[in-house]
Symmetry: C2
Subunit: 115 residues, 2 copies
């Protein structure tokens, strides 16, 4: 699987991660909430664990899976440079809109929304 990006490319795995963000869950709980066959859940969890996205502890027959921060932080880190980029874009857009505002003398304040 190799990279964290490939791991989160799979929709079911993203769903599982989103489930785990609130609290740890057993395989069975995930299975029911996502309406997906148990072997599928186990297989995706395997991938997620190998990549360090989750860890598990044993609770008798069941295993509880919970999130681990590392890999997602990696994604976040990769995103950082782009974040700077699109902030610049938002700025530019705002400056633009500001100029629009100044041109027309304040057309009755309103949440920007065309029709």
């Amino acid at each position: 699987m190799e990279s964290v990006f490939e791991v989160i490319a799979e929709p079911n795995r993203r769903a599982i991660l989103s489930l785990l963000v609130s609290s740890e869950q057993s395989v069975g709980e995930i299975e029911r909430q996502l309406h997906m066959p148990q072997p599928a859940v186990s297989k995706h969890l395997r991938v997620l664990r190998d990549a360090g996205f989750v860890e598990s502890t044993v609770d008798a027959q069941r295993r509880l899976y919970r999130l681990r921060p590392g890999p997602l932080q990696e994604v976040d880190a990769w995103l950082a440079p782009f974040r700077r980029f699109w902030l610049a874009h938002v700025d530019a857009l705002e400056r633009h809109l500001d100029r629009m505002e100044k041109a027309k003398p304040a057309p009755a304040k309103r949440k920007t929304r065309k029709k």
Copy 2:
């Protein structure tokens, strides 16, 4: 290709995006900087454009590609809930280390590193 996550799952595409973060580039420039065959570059750019990651303008024989903010913001948005999660983790870690510090009375300040 469908989802933004699948698009950025490909390493070469991530490389291209990273290149474009500084400024727009022509296909040839990308080709040279990444040492990858031209058809490959074109194909990946096609995928990136279809998914809205980049846009292009024509400059005689060459096409200049530049970044568009949308899709990456989408990734960022998906990441948001997890960000809250791992911030909690960092906090917990810090509180833990703080307690360690209090326990032992200041062992000669030092960059935490064993050995």
